[in-house]
Amino acid sequence: MMFKSTLSGLAGRPRAFDGVLEQAGRIILGKDHEIRLAIACLLANGHLLIEDLPGMGKTTLAHTLARLLGLHFSRIQFTSDLLPADITGVSIFERDKSEFRFLPGPVFAQLVLADEINRATPKTQSALLEAMEEGQVTAEGQTRMLPTPFFVIATQNPAHQIGTFPLPESQLDRFLMRLELGYPDRAAERALLAAGGQRRRVEELTPLLAPDELPALQLEASNIHAAGPLIDYVQALVEATRQNPAFQHGLSPRAGLALLAAARAWAWLAGRDMVLPDDVQAVLPAVARHRLRSAQGGGYALAEDIAALIRSVAIP
């Protein structure tokens, strides 16, 4: 899917995120579209799953976004011996006060990077996923609210590596989008080599948003107008996945809502006050692929099947 800027002189609006996009683009070279999707995902108040081989810049991307958006960031490296309490936190007994004190785990941050989530056991995975779903953590009988905004960017190595526990389908649905970064193109890779890695430059970034600014922008993005014909289009696409023989099953109604939310955020990023079919088409692969199962082989839906799906639905 091509990146689509506003071609037309449609109603412009202050582009709060232009700086974010531009700065992130300078860190993650040649991945403007993915960066934009990632930001749209956060704007739509959804969690993000980045799936790729090690060393493709997944962590850097997460880190960069946290810095630029001024979010409190924490990182959890998932391993096979990680326990749920290592994420949510533990209560320890304080002798001097003779009482238990809760030590919040790394999940109590605005942006949590769950690195290599498929290395942990399903039990540990589900602890995080529950936190994502509920926006709160229940530990030792007490429920504690997570900060807002609360994002999880999970990274995952492709499932065919040994010793991993791939996320079950039901859990995948909790991620609004799933991205693959892929190899950088030639020019980007050369620039990367010349600069000697980007990680240290992340530290130099300064936040572009105040901590309380993001929720307001999210609200704005969620209010972008989606006209009747556009809703029809989203519905037709979702319906088509249920028919299409390339997939084992179709998208759920929740996935339809996710698609519309993502398209709204995408439209907002483009500086428009209405959603266009272009926006839906742009976010569809990231929103739909991990929610669908290919009829062949049983993995994620193939990118070309999604493209064919788009071609099979007329724009109303």
């Binding site: 209405m274 959603v275 071609r311």
Partner: protein, 645 residues
């Protein structure tokens, strides 16, 4: 026997077939032998009963004897299995028998095809407007049955009937075009069976007391006439039919032998007219007395009757010319005169005595006057005369004194012959009813009449109508006025209320128009019609071309209807489609999944000269269709207009 699923007949389709069978055979019950109707009805009821109880249909060992018995019955009744009546009877019986054999879709198709075929057979008996309408309704039903057979159980009766109606309505233009332009051949193609023309009423070639009185009670139309000029006076409208010269004491007959050719001298200007004769299965044409010019296929007989080369088996138009005043055979063959003086020797002695008494004392003119005066004195004109004995004329003249035109004509001729004046009876019609709505003079069977003709030396044959002496009204205003109330005349002509008469005139005018232009549409009318269309001397080739192009146009229209899609209601989308069509003409096609922005990008690459204008259209369209306001229609309209410049 197991039939594959697609061929098995759906149980709920069967009532449609029953309705088809009933509707297509029922009208035949009116004219076929009652036992046949009973058998057909019983077969239908049996089939319905079996269907209702969901029982097995009878096997071949029942059906084959049934067919045999039915055929034998028809053979016994009609003495043939072919021909009109027997053929129709066979079809009716076969139709109802087929209902006992409804197993597969194919059987049902046979029933429907047979139904269509049976529709045609009704026209052998009547082609009137009501028949046409009834058959149109029946055709609708049969077509609905056909649709139901192929639509399967999920079709609702209302939808089925509506669809059938639509099909029939759409077929009507084809019917009109084919009816007008299909090259007509005048039939018959081969000899018709002998029973093809039974049941036609009209004058016969003989006359006995009561025969005309019986005919008069029939309100059917005998013929219609349209005069080129004004309508001649009513009392001169004598339509000449058979001339009867031979009398056996009771019945008058035509002379079958050779007659010398008539010598006719016209004394008044000829009157041209066109007569549309209903079928009467006789050869005479009932021309206005006396015909001076005849159509080529007809000839004038020695007794001044226009005789056609063939019996008139169907409604036919003739162009005729007549003179109201004429001189006919002033010098007559003595043989003819002798024939017209003959009387049966042992009959009617009283009459003959009276005539002989007149003959001794008077000249012919005075004898005629005496006879007419006798009738005028105390005779009654009635349709219901008392029965007469062996000496019929004597009984009539001296006892009953009540009679109808044939009594007067016969008695007059007997008196004349007895008095030595050659005389004969002429049958025909007198008068007619002028329909002011379409200008046709309608002559009915109730206008049937008989009058006398006497031969006077130097004058030739002269018409004398003794009825006029008894009842002048009969000649001047018509039979309805001449008879007392309560005489068994047809209701139609007896009722004299103005509004009913107007209604009747209208109905008859419609019927006449129907007869003239629909039923009478023959090769000649077709030529006239084509000449009016600008195709004079149309041969079959130009007819075929005209027919082909008209049908082609109709098919094209129907195809347009079939391919027609509802126009876009949303003006925004309509404008957008206009813009897309404009692009398509410039070889830029838009795939249905392509977004407007993608398309704009492609236009920029493929048609840079259009890019700017199209971009404006896209912007306006996106705002109008996907935006939050609905006030951008005008911007879009302007943008599209500019693109199309």
């Amino acid at each position: 026997m197991s039939t594959p699923a697609r061929e098995a007949l759906d149980r709920h389709a069967t009532p449609w077939l029953f309705a088809t069978a009933l509707a297509t055979t029922a009208p035949h019950f009116m004219h076929q032998p009652p036992w046949l109707s009973a058998v057909a009805g019983a077969l239908l009821l049996w089939a319905v009963w079996l269907w209702w109880k969901d029982q097995r249909l009878p096997g071949r060992w029942i059906l084959i004897p049934l067919v045999g018995a039915g055929s034998a019955g028809i053979l016994f009744e009609f003495h043939t299995l072919f021909g009109r009546d027997a053929g129709v009877a066979m079809l009716v019986m076969f139709m109802n028998m087929k209902l006992l054999e409804l197993k597969s879709q194919r059987d049902a198709t046979v029933v429907v095809t047979l139904g269509y075929f049976l529709l045609l057979t009704h026209y052998l008996y009547s082609q009137s407007i009501p028949t046409g309408l009834w058959l149109l309704a029946t055709m609708w039903l049969v077509t609905a049955t056909l649709i139901r057979l192929h639509g399967g159980p999920s079709s609702r009766p209302r939808d089925t009937l509506r669809h059938a109606g639509l099909l029939c309505l759409q077929a009507i233009p084809f019917m009109l075009v084919l009816f007008l332009l299909f090259p007509r051949i005048s039939g018959p193609l081969w000899g018709l069976p002998s029973d093809a023309f039974t049941g036609k009423t009209g004058l016969s070639d003989s006359m006995s007391p009561g025969s005309i009185a019986q005919l008069v009670q029939n309100g059917d139309i005998a013929f219609r006439v349209r005069f080129d000029g004004a309508l001649p006076p009513r009392q001169k409208l004598y339509w000449r039919g058979p001339v009867m010269e031979q009398f056996d004491g009771t019945t008058w007959h035509q002379y079958k032998g050779r007659q010398p050719a008539a010598q006719l001298e016209s004394l008044s200007p000829p009157i041209g007219y066109e007569s549309t004769l209903e079928a009467h299965n006789q050869r005479w044409l009932l021309a206005l007395d006396a015909p001076v010019a005849l159509p080529p296929e007809a000839a004038l007989s020695g007794t001044l009757t226009a005789i056609n080369s063939k019996p008139v088996h169907e409604r036919q138009r003739f162009r005729l010319t007549s003179s109201l005043d004429y001189r006919f055979n002033p010098s007559e063959d003595p043989l003819v005169l002798r024939r017209n003086l003959a009387l049966p020797a042992n009959r009617n002695p009283q009459s003959r005595a009276l005539a002989a008494q007149w003959r001794a004392a008077n000249a012919p003119e005075a004898i005629i006057a005496k006879a007419l005066a006798l009738f005028a004195a105390d005779f009654t004109y009635t349709l219901q005369p008392p029965l007469l004995g062996v000496h019929g004329i004597d009984d009539f003249l001296f006892q009953t004194k009540r009679g109808f035109c044939e009594h007067y004509a016969a008695a007059f001729v007997v008196l004349m012959r007895g008095a030595g004046i050659p005389a004969r009876v002429v049958g025909g019609y007198q008068g007619g009813e002028f329909n002011p709505l379409d200008g046709y003079l309608v002559v009915r069977q109730s206008d049937a009449h008989a009058w006398a003709e006497v031969w006077l030396d130097g004058q030739g044959w002269r018409r004398v109508d003794p009825t006029a002496a008894v009842s002048p009204n009969r000649i001047e205003t018509g039979i309805a006025d001449a008879l007392a109330f309560g005489e068994p005349l047809p209701m139609l002509i007896q009722i004299r209320a103005d509004w009913i008469r107007t209604l009747r005139y209208r109905w008859e005018a419609i019927n006449n128009a129907w007869n003239q232009s629909v039923l009478g549409y023959d090769p000649q009318r077709q030529r006239e019609f084509l000449a009016r269309l600008g195709l004079p001397d149309a041969d079959w080739r130009s007819l075929t071309i005209a027919l082909g192009s008209a049908c082609g146009l109709l098919v094209a229209g129907l195809m347009g209807w079939a391919l027609y899609k509802q126009p876009q209601r949303d003006p925004v989308v309509r404008l957008w489609h206009q813009a897309l069509r404009h692009l398509a003409r410039r070889k830029v096609d838009c795939a249905p999944w392509e977004t407007p922005l993608d398309l704009a990008r492609r236009v920029r690459e493929q048609r840079p000269e259009l890019a700017e204008a199209f971009q404006r259209v896209v912007d306006a369209y996106l705002v109008a269709r996907y935006g939050n306001t609905d006030k951008h229609l005008k911007t879009l309209r302007d943008a599209v207009a500019r693109l199309r410049q």
